[in-house]
């Protein structure tokens, strides 16, 4: 009888301890959430990139590097790796120009201030006869880039 009461009391105590620790953890989370309001809003702004902004970013790189960029393909995938609220869009873009300009574009793509990362880069030198270039010294290069954007914005596929 006494043993049963003791075990009941111990169970109750364990339950109360668990509740108290959960409550403390929730308080900690609330405090953290309140203290990081501005940062979270900033991150939310950065992460909410819509498809137009993604396309503009790619074209902007072309303008900054001095080459024309053509966007050939866009593949949308709801990214399971980052959770259900995050989507990723893969763009395949192409640009042609001198080696220096093409490399400049590649470097700019790598440090694009958007949630993005370069999946693949392909450099190909276009033969002189195909490029129609009359300058014998300047080779023309073709850049194919596969760049992936991560976004929390709603994207219709």
């Amino acid at each position: 009888m006494i043993g049963a009461q003791d075990s009941l009391r111990a169970e109750k105590k364990a339950g109360l301890d668990e509740k108290a620790s959960l409550h403390a953890a929730a308080l900690r989370i609330h405090a953290l959430a309140r203290g990081t309001n501005a940062e979270r809003a900033k991150l939310d702004d950065i992460a909410r990139v819509d498809i137009i902004e993604m396309l503009e970013s790619i074209e902007q790189v072309g303008r900054d590097a001095g080459i024309s960029i053509e966007i050939g393909q866009a593949i949308y995938t709801p990214d399971s790796k980052f959770g259900s609220k995050v989507r990723s869009v893969l763009f395949v873009a192409e640009g042609t120009g001198s080696f220096t300009k093409v490399m400049h574009a590649a470097a700019l793509f790598e440090s694009l201030p958007r949630p993005s990362f370069v999946d693949e880069l392909e450099f190909e030198m276009i033969p002189m006869s195909a490029s129609g270039s009359k300058k014998s010294s300047a080779g023309v290069w073709n850049l194919v880039i596969r760049i992936r954007f991560i976004s929390t914005a709603e994207i219709s596929s």
Binding site: L22, A25, A26, R28, I29, L32, A33, G35, T36, E39, R40, K42, L43, I46, D64, A65, G83, S98, F99, T100, K101, M103, H104, A107, L108, S111, L112, P113, P115, M125, S137, A138, G139, W141
Partner: protein, 102 residues
């Protein structure tokens, strides 16, 4: 003792058989130990992954274990600031890489 005797008389077929049998058993034993180690190591990793973040409160119950990481938030934001700075720097200072075709 038996193996030592067999080794001393290894030229004789019946002793050679004993040696081979011992060798085979040793190989089996080592394979067994290796398999047991692999199972233990995998189980340890599995349980450590499953118990990771168990005592850390999740942000919301339906999101699974999304742990609120203040340090991570700041690092991410700093990362974007760095990227923007890099982008602006690269815009004005293109990398000087010589055309390999020349």
């Amino acid at each position: 003792m038996r193996v030592r005797d067999a080794w001393s008389n290894r030229n004789e077929p019946e002793h050679l058989r004993i040696l081979l049998e011992s060798y085979w058993r040793a190989l089996l034993g080592m394979a067994g130990i290796l398999i047991a180690c692999a199972i233990l190591y995998s189980a340890f990793n599995l349980f450590s992954v499953l118990s990771r973040g168990k005592n850390v409160p999740a942000l919301s119950p339906d999101e699974g274990l999304v742990v609120f990481d203040n340090q991570g938030l700041e690092t991410t934001l700093d990362g974007f600031v760095t990227r923007e700075t890099n982008y602006e720097f690269l815009k004005k200072n293109p990398p000087k890489i010589f055309d390999p075709s020349r």
